[in-house]
């Protein structure tokens, strides 16, 4: 399995873990946790599908000539953005979906990526306080 697929699988597992944690916290602390959990499931599902769509887009774009790849990536971004808008609109209008849960599900992937790729080494935090010449 190549590194891109491994990364996707890792992100999927970590996102599911994080959202499971969100659901457990909601079940313990919220008065009406079911709507929140439905929102988290809705947001997470869409977020992961969006990530997969992004991978397919980029994988196709790198085989195109650069100007065409640029236009293709931007047009597909607008498509994903529209779908995201529809998802948020549905969760705003539907009474059985909590919008905060949906937002948590949508944003969780970013948290997972930052955690696993940027904040995973102590060197990153040490380098913040080091001068450029000292590194």
């Amino acid at each position: 399995m190549d590194s891109v697929n491994q990364t996707q699988l890792k992100m999927l597992k970590n996102a599911l873990l994080l959202n499971g944690l969100f659901c457990i916290i909601a079940l313990v602390f919220l008065e009406n946790p079911i709507t929140f959990v439905v929102g988290v499931i809705f947001g997470t599902t869409f977020s992961l599908l969006n990530f997969r769509l992004l991978y397919l887009t980029l994988n196709k774009a790198v085989h195109m000539p650069p100007p065409k790849a640029q236009a293709y990536a931007t047009s597909r971004y607008l498509l994903r953005y529209t779908i995201t808008g529809i998802v948020i609109f549905i969760s705003l209008k539907a009474d059985y979906i909590n919008i905060l849960g949906t937002i948590a599900g949508l944003v969780s992937l970013k948290l997972v990526i930052l955690k696993s790729e940027l904040f995973n080494s102590k060197e990153y935090f040490k380098n913040i306080f080091k001068r450029k010449e000292e590194r």
Binding site: D2, S3, V4, T7, Q8, N50, F51, L54, Y55, T57, L58, N59, A61, V62, H63, M64, P65, P66, P67, A69, Q70, A71, Y72, A73, T74, Y77, L78, R80, Y81, T84, G85, I88, F89, L92, K93, I99, I103, L106, V107, L109, K110, I113, L114, E117
Partner: protein, 88 residues
């Protein structure tokens, strides 16, 4: 002519705010397009590095896309579930 009510003023300001919030969606689109163009150049120059290029671009694009989603959420909340109207 009827005077402008507080509710109408809030709704008008919210519509303007929603429009301004949608500007946040433009940046990631331009950025992703630019990154994809440069990625295509990179793969053309060094085809064996395709996996690394796509992986880095995928993670960067996913993080950048979330910024646009924030703006979209703010805009849609202002339009369809405005919390400010209930404060009157």
């Amino acid at each position: 002519m009827e005077p402008i009510t507080g509710r109408a003023l809030i709704l008008a300001a919210s519509a303007i705010g929603a429009g301004l919030a949608m500007i946040a969606g433009i940046g990631p689109g331009i950025g992703q397009g630019y990154a994809a163009g440069k990625g295509a150049e990179g793969v053309g120059r060094q085809p064996e590095a395709q996996g690394d290029i796509v992986r880095t671009m995928l993670l960067g694009a996913a993080v950048a896309e979330t910024t646009g989603i924030y703006g979209l959420i703010v805009a849609l909340i202002l339009l369809f579930a405005n919390p400010l109207v209930n404060l009157l």
